[in-house]
């Protein structure tokens, strides 16, 4: 988990969710790249972030893309975030005794009879799901992100306030972590659009 570094965080807001990660890809303490995307779109309103070993991030991203495509073709509809979370969980548990070294974070908007409902979840490397009501964190800076999120997050934040909260949490969290940082990317998912912003960070 500390080999390549990197952190992911997701937060719930009022009729919106946000997911964010840093952009560092390192080899232990040596920084290799500052453009490593670890958050991927699953559907229009569901995103997955993968913190952990770089090779497994790419491998799992390809696996999830394949399995979601198969689901979409068979069911003739988009996958729901909760369903996707269970797909992530079972994919990881298939490798219970030789796992992918990845901690996934899922954020999206669920379809309900009365519109949409924010959904976030995280899992450990063997697929134990954690459905949270407020925020989830993963990666090398997770301990710091917990502390900051605990202090900064509040219920029913609008998309703009949520963006500010998640950005400050992530940026200040990764500054205390040697394995994360080097810029960040934030996605704010609302009912009718996803706003993606790339943030500058400390380059040390």
């Amino acid at each position: 988990m500390e080999y390549n570094g990197g952190s992911v965080i997701a937060m719930v807001g009022k009729d919106c969710v946000a997911i964010a990660s840093d952009l560092r890809f390192g080899n232990q303490a040596l920084g290799i790249a500052s453009n490593f995307q670890r958050i991927f779109p699953v559907t229009d309103r569901t995103y997955v972030g993968l913190a952990g070993l770089g090779t497994d991030v790419t491998t799992l991203r390809e696996r999830f893309r394949y399995r979601v495509n198969m689901y979409t073709i068979k069911e003739e509809r988009d996958i729901e975030p909760q369903t996707f979370a269970h797909l992530v969980s079972s994919t990881l548990y298939e490798h219970r005794f030789g796992p992918y070294f990845v901690e996934p974070v899922i954020a999206g908007l669920e379809n309900t009879s009365s519109g949409s409902k924010p959904f976030i979840a995280a899992a450990d490397l063997i697929g134990c799901l954690n459905f949270a009501k407020d925020f989830v964190v993963a990666g090398t800076a997770s301990s710091k992100l917990y502390g900051l999120a605990e202090g900064l997050w509040e219920p029913d934040l609008g998309p703009e306030d949520l963006f500010e909260t998640i950005s400050q949490t992530l940026l200040n969290g990764v500054d205390r972590d040697a394995f994360s940082g080097w810029g960040a990317v934030v996605h704010v998912i609302t009912k009718d659009r996803v706003v993606t912003r790339t943030l500058k960070g400390r380059m040390d």
């Binding site: 040596l30 070993l53 770089g54 090779t55």
Partner: protein
Amino acid sequence: METSFALTGKGYVIIAADTTAARSIVKMKVDEDKIKELGTHLLMAYSGEPGDTVQFAEYVERNIRLYQIRNLYPLRPPAAASWIRRSLAQSLRSRNPYSVNLLLGGYDQAENKPNLYWIDYLGSVVEVPFAAHGYGSYFALSLLDRYHDPEAPLEEGLATLKRCLDEVAKRLVVSPSKYMVKVVDKDGVREVEI
């Protein structure tokens, strides 16, 4: 010790790799070419476990060639990087994985731009403006942070590379004596003297 560098510039990628073949503390050979020409516009520098390196590089070379023969067009650099990554990632979880680190540089003739990929033996791939493998990376990357210019003409790119090689020669205890330098641009691949 084994070291390789690569950097992109205005319409080209330069790849340099040392030419020593060592076994334990002995230099067995000083003119080993460790940069394979995978196609007309694709270069791959390889380093790592002796034996694995050549075996894997030839495996990649033949498969990339096979794709070109079957489809009448070559794999573009991003596609080639994906294929190589997958091979390494599958190998990683096999009985005996290949222990090979790569720098893949190519010129994408469809988009008319250079591509450089840093690939390690785990199957991690990142697209980068400049990259290095081996002990040389600890010296070269900080120099390249300072001096690399993605819009620099070839002469400037080669001068920047020279800085890296000189720094490694000056500061690294086990520095290589000779390097092979290859360039890929719109006209294809060629070796250059430095």
